[in-house]
Symmetry: C2
Subunit: 290 residues, 2 copies
């Protein structure tokens, strides 16, 4: 395991441990609702958003304790979006991370409520941890990225794009920006906010390009990836005639775009002290195979 | 129009005006998502939760300006819960307030997103208005009532109750408390929080009994009400064999329970200065026909 991978594993383990403690502190009912929420929360995934927050927060000199609740909230919001996105009325996916999707396991009604519950719980967790202007600011950044000027708008545009015969580059970039990029950029801006706004402009630029990079690589992997590594149905974008970077630019064009985004993301860190690890994370996201 | 009804109409008009201004300050995309959110937000309803907040806030000496954003957030959360509750996988209702339900008008996928969007927007609106400990406390009360220790848990228990052959009074009271009562009680505790916690214990007691009263009257109206006045499909509870107060106590028993709750709600206001109007609101909820 490389030094970079080891550090990633450490951040991820720290997050998993906090998640585990948090979930087990709950004595909530009805039990099925909590099982449904836990099922998707604990299904793994790469924990990219929490790791980005923890890494940027450490780089900026922040304490683990102050960042961890927001790392949990980030992943809860990401998880709710996956549960709702997999529903038959949305992307209609039967599998997620190699396991039956939430509604396949618990039924559609409970899956809708598990998603609503995770979004609500993310809010409660943030509210419990608003202690000063920094934490209030981090919470505002998170919900601006997740809401109707961010992820929810991106999901809606994505849903509408499936039925369209015509599409433009503007529409493509709108979907990438809102559906994916803002929630990848959020942890970086949140880390800055938690540390008094240090390097805010740089963190925003880095986050934006990294978020686009993440989605473009995802689009490429949907065509070229291995289902066994990805843990989900591949080739679905083309099957559903979704507007993706590969559909718009072609496979070669998407790869060139990814390279450009990777270079931009690294450039945006010039001038940021101790940012070598964040640059390595960008490389990891660029070169990932799952 | 009685004096009480006139005052109610004034609070409701103040709320509608604020809602109208807020909605029109938005320039958001995709437009269909916003149409779906607006459709249900503007569909009317009695605006009970906002009126309770505005009335209690005025009684406690608070300013309209400080309470109005929270009144909007309350109604957004209530509206999101109705949209998701009407979905085929949940209550499967084709009509709401005399109009096609959200998913009948915009499709299931967009209705799920409209609900997610309203919940997110409620949070953003509260976050924008957290300015001191009072407003932070009011926000925490709202999301505690709406989330997995409140409304979402109640919805899940209600969903699970449909399939059960056996049921207990404990289950019935759990559903009423969480699904309905907490979101009726929230505005009263929020009003207290916004005004430094004044009469908090009394507002909580009044809110709890009023919330139960609201649901038991709803159960009675589902049997005895007029569809034209209610604006929704009636008799559905019995048809779906739902666990309601009428099913458990019988119609006569439910009416006796409602009377008891009404009396308790009024008693809990003894000692609260200027609470005559809140008592009248309880009477209005008790005697309502729609």
């Amino acid at each position: 395991m490389s030094k970079i991978d080891k550090k990633y594993a450490e951040y991820a383990a720290l997050f998993e441990s906090e998640l585990h403690n948090y979930i087990n502190s709950f004595h909530a009912s009805p039990s099925v609702l909590f099982e449904a929420m836990k099922y998707s929360l604990e299904a793994g995934g790469k924990r990219v958003r929490p790791v980005l927050l923890l890494a940027a927060n450490e780089m900026l000199g922040g304490s683990e304790e102050s960042a961890l609740p927001f790392a949990l909230a980030l992943e809860m919001i990401h998880t709710y979006s996956l549960i709702h996105d997999d529903l038959p009325a949305m992307d209609d996916d039967d599998f997620r991370r190699g396991n039956p999707s939430n509604h396949k396991k618990f039924g559609e009604g409970m899956a809708i409520l598990a998603g609503d519950g995770l979004l609500s719980l993310a809010m409660e967790l943030c509210l419990a941890n608003i202690k000063d202007d920094n934490s209030l600011s981090a919470t505002r950044i998170l919900f601006a990225a997740a809401g109707v000027s961010g992820m929810v708008a991106g999901q809606a545009a994505d849903l509408l794009s499936e039925k369209k015969q015509e599409y433009s580059e503007r529409q493509l970039l709108y979907i990438i920006k809102n559906k994916t990029s803002k929630m990848i950029a959020a942890p970086l801006a949140m880390a800055s906010a938690l540390n008094g706004g240090k390097y805010m402009a740089e963190m925003k630029n880095f986050g934006r390009t990294l978020g686009f990079l993440f989605q473009v690589v995802d689009d490429i992997l949907d065509v070229e990836g291995e289902a066994s590594e990805m843990g989900k149905t591949l080739g679905k974008d083309a099957q559903e005639d979704k507007l993706t970077s590969v559909k718009y630019y072609g496979l070669k064009g998407a790869k060139e775009y990814a390279e450009k985004l990777y270079n931009e993301s690294v450039s945006s860190l010039s001038g940021v002290a101790n940012s070598a690890y964040l640059a390595k994370l960008a490389e990891k996201i660029y070169k990932r195979t799952n």
